[in-house]
Symmetry: C2
Subunit: 119 residues, 2 copies
C-alpha cells in the first residue's frame, strides 16, 4: 500500500511525535512533525521536524551540522507515532550530548549518565 | 538532585510522552503518562501509563500479562519526554507483535516488517 502522510493521526495542532533512534539502537530524541515535514523527510532523506516554538520547519542539523540521515521511517499500530531510524552526525542534543535522554532517575535522584561531546 | 515528577513539563492535558525501549535496544511503543503515572511507575517498577481513551491508569500488561518491568527511567533535556528502559514480557503491541512499530515505509510503500508472535 502506498504511504500517504495524510493517513497518519495528527493531534489538534496537526502534529505527530517522531522518535529518532540511531542505527546502533540508542534513542536520541523526540520531536514533532506535521504532514509536510513527514513528506519532506521522506523526499530528502534529511530528517525535518516542525518546530513548535518557531512554528517553522526544522531541518535537523541545518545550522549545527548535526544532521540526521533517514535510514527508515516506521509507523506505529495506531498511526499516531513515528520511529525514525537515522544516521546521526555528531551529537543529537543541543547540549552537545549524543542523546537528549542523558538524565536517569536512580533511587529517586537525577543522575547525569552522559557527558557532552568534547570540542 | 531528588527527582520530582511535578518538575516535568506536561502538555495542556497534563500528559508527557513516554517511549518504552527494551533492554536489547528495540523501541517497543510510545504512550502517555501524567505525574501520578510517573510516580506509580517509579514506586512499583511496573510501567503504568495514562490511557487517554479510558481516562484511567493503564498498568501495562495487567490484563494481557505482557507487563513492562522498569529498568530505568530517563528524562530528556527539555523535560518534556521520558524514555523507559524496560524488560518486556511477551509482545508489547496489542496486535501481538513485539513492537508497535512494525510498519516501515520503503520506497513509498508500507511494508510489514514484523509478524505477530505465534500462540
Amino acid at each position: 500500500m502506498a504511504f500517504d502522510p495524510a493517513s497518519l493521526k495528527f493531534d489538534a495542532a496537526g502534529l505527530i511525535p517522531a522518535i529518532a533512534q540511531d542505527t546502533g539502537g540508542a534513542v536520541l530524541m523526540m520531536a514533532w512533525m506535521n504532514a509536510d515535514a513527514v513528506a519532506r523527510t521522506l523526499e530528502t532523506g534529511r530528517v525535518t521536524y516542525w518546530s513548535r516554538s518557531r512554528q517553522a520547519f526544522w531541518v535537523k542539523g541545518e545550522s549545527s551540522g548535526h544532521v540526521q540521515r533517514l535510514i527508515e521511517m516506521r509507523v506505529d499500530c495506531d498511526r499516531d507515532c513515528l520511529l525514525l531510524v537515522v544516521e546521526q552526525e555528531g551529537p543529537a542534543c543541543h547540549t552537545n550530548r549524543r542523546s537528549c535522554f542523558y538524565t536517569a532517575i536512580r533511587e529517586g535522584e537525577e543522575v547525569e549518565i552522559m557527558a557532552p561531546v568534547a570540542g
